[in-house]
């Protein structure tokens, strides 16, 4: 069927058009669905709310563990999540709240958890250690300081 001089045969032309139409249909169908599926990636996570944890007067230079509750929304579930933090005041009066979650594998760290090192946070799982300000001590498993 190829005519002399023309590079594209009628059949090829039809096949290209067909692929185009098919591509249009597939794209129209699939794009809303893909958007629907990848929503969790696109969704911006809002900034965390501030929750009242304890009164200023109670904060000492010694880190204390405080538990607090926070309204959390997990898709269609809404519940109160119990969280905790280590809170203390530095000598200069700055208030520091540290997350108790070890940056190594997510265990709970405790201040002075190792009785021989009373001024450090200690993670019992893999013997990870942090300074009082949350900096990880080199040579122990954690690779990053505790989250503030």
């Amino acid at each position: 069927m190829a005519q002399n001089g023309s590079k594209v045969t009628r059949r090829q032309f039809l096949t290209y058009t067909l692929t185009g139409v098919g591509g249009f249909m597939a794209a129209t169908l699939i794009s809303p669905m893909v958007n629907f599926a990848i929503e969790p990636v696109l969704k911006k996570t809002g900034a965390g709310d501030k929750v009242k944890v304890m009164s200023l007067d109670d904060i000492t230079t010694e880190p204390q563990r405080v538990d607090f509750k926070k309204q959390t929304q997990d898709a269609w579930y809404e519940f109160e999540e119990t969280l905790s933090a280590w809170v203390y005041k530095t000598d200069s009066g700055e208030i520091i709240a540290l997350s108790p979650i070890c940056t190594h594998l997510g265990c709970q760290v405790a201040f002075a958890g190792d009785p021989t090192r009373p001024q450090e946070f200690f993670c019992p799982c893999h013997l990870g250690r942090y300074e009082k300000d949350g900096t990880n001590i080199p040579g122990t498993p954690p690779t990053a300081p505790l989250a503030r």
Binding site: L29, I30, P32, M33, N35, F36, E39, A75, W76
Partner: protein, 223 residues
């Protein structure tokens, strides 16, 4: 590059005849709307299949958020429709697509009937087609319950009462469908399983047979 990959596969599994057979089979003039506009009635079968493809795709995506549980089903449907990007469109495709599928199927059945296309040698394909119709109706029935809203619950109660009125097996059928004495948690789980696994499996099998027979027998001749 593509050609080389194709040749490599074809040399080993000989795929050319498989698709050339489908690509090259001739479509007669009398079903081609380009030649006779009235041949558009032959489009309904294809459109039914297209709608079913839409149903399968949108259904697959809906199950990413939906949970078949009496406490969370409604909340998850509300969430996916209102909180998720394009949730309204995806659920809309599935919801409205169900109605469109029934309409298309109805028109397709009528076309086959009025052109007498179910006659020898195509009896078997007609039977498979009617079974497909039942499967699609059953999909609509089971899908109606899944959002677990008021109309879902009460319509299903009526359906089960109708099932119960069947003599001898009615009581058993009702308990089997409801998964217990009342329309509740186990009914929802059951309907979900039937809607998402059992009926689609039957649908795929029957559709395969339907298409295979069309390929074997060809389209019925012009009137």
């Amino acid at each position: 590059m593509l050609q080389k990959i194709y040749d490599w596969v074809d040399e080993r599994v000989d795929i050319t005849p498989l698709w050339r057979d489908i690509a090259d089979h001739e479509v007669p003039e009398h079903v081609n709307p380009a030649h006779h506009f009235s041949a558009f009635v032959y489009c309904f079968g294809g459109l039914t299949f297209f709608t079913i493809v839409i149903q399968i795709l949108s259904g697959m995506f809906l199950t990413m958020y939906y949970v078949p549980d009496i406490i969370n089903a409604h909340a998850s449907v509300y969430y996916l429709q209102n909180e998720i990007a394009h949730g309204q469109i995806v659920r809309g495709m599935h919801h409205w697509g169900a109605s469109v599928a029934i309409v298309m199927l109805f028109l397709h059945t009528l076309r086959v009937f009025f052109t007498g296309s179910y006659k020898k040698p195509r009896e078997l394909n007609w039977v498979v087609g009617v079974l497909l119709f039942f499967v699609v109706l059953a999909l609509g029935l089971t899908g109606y319950l899944l959002p677990w809203d008021m109309k879902a619950l009460f319509a299903t109660k009526v359906t089960l009462q109708i099932a119960e009125s069947v003599p001898v097996i009615g009581g058993i059928a009702k308990t089997l469908l409801a998964g217990g004495e009342i329309v509740g948690a186990s009914t929802l789980a059951r309907f979900f399983a039937i809607h998402v696994f059992f009926l689609p499996a039957a649908l795929f099998g029957l559709l395969g047979a339907h298409f295979l027979m069309i390929r074997k027998q060809g389209v019925s001749g012009p009137l």
